[in-house]
Symmetry: C2
Subunit: 459 residues, 2 copies
């Protein structure tokens, strides 16, 4: 949808002061599209355009702008103007934005808001990052069971402009306890306008707890195909809702975070809210050094393995055992990475359950056997025909590859499954971890086969 | 939500023939929850429960069952019963299910359906996997611009039971060309019941093309916070819609697929529809052997690198250069994996654009410098203090680690960015690819530093 050709035209209209044309152009676009166009223009041009649009529109567009632009815009306005804009924003976006402003700026703006709104912002901003509370919003409609369908529809009409959604509506008792759910579809389809909400609502509402992990809530929204899910506190009081679009954002973040983890970077709920550019390099170092250090220390074992088997090398100096080490352990790492990637995906999609451990490891070992046979034959040919080593040494290399592939696939399958068993997120089982695990053990396989074929069998 | 304690109770109720109690119990649960409980019971017990519930309910639950159970259920029914059930299912789920049935079974069932439904199934099943067409559904309401708000609401009420959603409605002209969009919210909020749809609808509809990639469509739904997106064919005729819940499923599949790719397994649109268990092992081998083979062949270079530098090793036999090889290239692979994971995530989230290449590579190289300094000092200490080698050799190892970390981070950043530049999905840049790229070059860095410090400087 990004159209760079548009920018010069828009710029011309802005310079010519064609406010009517600009207003017309932008009013028929989705706020997300307008936000994109504004991001492509200079800040001052963007401000001009936002100034032309109705206030509610402006508030909507604001929430689609990147956070830097949002902060810039608020900071360029008077506290009263900022407050007027915040008043019209959706409650979760508003709380996020206020969180990003500087403290003294916040102190200047908040007094211009009604007390209820100030409290709402403070409360939404107070939840632990990564919880349902931190992503929920408070602009939703509640209905009481005593209302009739007609009254409920009146209420929705009245509250709609300030609500995140009017399609899913929650029914609460006088203590704001969540007692039921009624969709707009149910209201519209109701045969009698005087039916009571309490009689047509669903009692078994799927809900989330305010301190629940945001990812598990987002998964529930996906699993039950919901447009929104209500969030309750420890006393079952309704305190917010999370909508389907926020769930999608959460899943996108969490799942790309899995890629980070799979690459061997520690998970960190707070840092994951940030873009690649935010946070200093020291922060990036901090998130990577843990695993890197642990794997480095584990990797030092390989030095002792090679050292203790160097007598094999010395006994057959022409074979140059050491020249095959990178290829062998590299292949093991690659096969293991494929296996662990497959298993993590299977676990994430729910195809694989921890109880399937034996079946999965069996399947992966068998896959490793087939892959190892193919690569082993190649390794045999490479060593014998291309390098001109004796065929028995070709067999050593070929069998080592076979053994390493089987082993790597088994480890790559077993480790994430064990992690899941011990309630560790299997996505922290990274490709580097499996590679490192397979390095030292792969060398053992290599030297064992060499000793068996070259020394034991020859003796 | 899975509650294994429930199973014995349900089993007892089934055996006692307590149909009323069972019906009551299941009618207040979400179809997805009922589907889960049925999956925990034996097939015959599940069939009993489904038999108790109203037909529409049964059709809804069916679509939440795993595909094996769906097929089993249809196969256990008469063709007429199957057709009655298919008639009530959502159109996309129905087409998917028919796709999974055996051909002669389909031939027995389809004649029991109306011709329009048969054609709908055939058409939906005919789209290329991975396209918008393959995931869209056809059970939606269309409105004409001439209708009044009152008439439109009537239409929605009438069509609601058979529609996937009535919250987003699309306006078409007599040729079924998509001309506008009106939400149920707009209809409800309309001040006049006699206003024409053509006057209150949005003209600038965000839509997808039938042959568009399903992932890009799902991303649009997320970006614009849509409940559904209309799908048009090459003549701009409305042919289907894709709903937010299907978009979430698509993103979940696509993003876990990225993990697979990152582990070094080829992407494959058709195989990705399958669960871990479907498809034979030969299929798994086929998807893995390509990369594994390529990386193996690339990896053979390392043999020649080590071989051609073995004279350095021979000149300092006590230092045992080869014993450090696995540790050094392992660390390079790990650092590179972290870097590539970070960049792929940044690209997926849109934080990083291809135009940022130089900035990104610079940042990663700097991160590699800091990480390399920390690990380098450790490597120096390990070689000198623990292994008792001369400090100058400790310096060789320490500097080699530093150089390899910088290099690995640079390669890990550059390769996915170049892939994106050349319109290759950066997610195919796997951890194994980066590791393999860094292996041979890392060895070059190691031996170059050794020659410089031990031979040149000593001379």
């Amino acid at each position: 949808m990004r159209n760079p050709l548009l920018v010069p035209d828009l710029r011309e209209l802005i310079q010519a002061g064609e406010t009517a044309a600009l207003r017309d152009f932008f009013s028929d676009h989705h706020p997300a599209q307008v936000a994109e166009m504004i991001e492509d223009l200079r800040p001052v041009e963007g401000d001009t355009i936002l100034g032309l649009l109705p206030a509610r529109n402006r508030a909507e567009i604001l929430s689609y702008l990147d956070s830097e632009r949002q902060v810039h815009l608020i900071e360029s306005m008077s506290p009263a103007e900022s407050a007027a804009l915040l008043h019209l924003m959706s409650h979760d976006e508003r709380a996020d934005l206020v969180n990003r402003l500087e403290e003294d700026n916040v102190d200047r703006i908040l007094p211009h808001l009604a007390q209820a709104e100030r409290e709402d912002i403070r409360r939404l901003a107070s939840y632990e990052p990564g919880t349902a509370g931190s992503v929920m919003t408070t602009d939703y409609v509640t209905l009481s069971p005593q209302l009739t369908v007609r009254e409920a529809l009146e209420r929705l009409r009245h509250d709609a402009p300030d609500s995140e959604t009017i399609y899913y509506n929650y029914v609460v008792d006088p203590q704001r306890k969540l007692v039921g759910f009624v969709s707009l579809k149910t209201l519209i389809l109701s045969r009698s306008a005087s039916a009571r909400i309490g009689d047509i609502m669903r009692h078994d509402v799927i809900f989330a707890r305010v301190d629940e992990d945001q990812e598990s809530v987002a998964r529930q929204i996906g699993k039950y195909d919901l447009i929104a899910i209500p969030v309750v506190d420890t006393t079952d009081m309704l305190v917010g809702i999370i909508t389907h679009d926020d769930a999608m954002d959460i899943l996108r973040k969490e799942q790309t975070e899995d890629i980070l983890a799979f690459g061997g970077v520690s998970k960190d709920a707070e840092a994951d809210e940030e873009s690649y550019w935010q946070g200093r390099i020291v922060e990036a170092v901090r998130r990577r050094i843990g695993w890197l250090l642990m794997l480095f220390l584990a990797g030092t074992i390989t030095r002792f393995v090679v050292h203790s088997f160097n007598w094999v090398n010395d006994r057959f100096p022409l074979l140059e055992f050491d020249t095959f080490i990178p290829l062998l352990i590299g292949t093991g790492g690659n096969a293991g990475s494929q296996s662990v990637g497959t298993i993590i995906r299977g676990l994430a999609l729910g195809d694989i359950r921890p109880s399937d451990t034996i079946k999965v490891v069996g399947r992966e070992v068998l896959t490793g056997l087939l892959l190892g046979m193919l690569l082993g034959v190649l390794g045999f040919g490479f060593t014998w025909l291309i390098l001109g080593h004796p065929p028995i040494f070709g067999a050593v290399i070929g069998l080592a590859i076979l053994g390493i592939c089987i082993w790597a696939n088994g480890v790559g399958a077993l480790v994430p499954l064990l992690a899941r068993r011990f309630d560790i997120d299997p996505a922290v089982v990274s490709a580097p971890l499996i590679s490192t695990l397979v390095d030292a053990t792969g060398l053992l396989i290599f030297y064992s086969i060499a000793i068996l074929l070259l020394i034991r069998l020859a003796a």
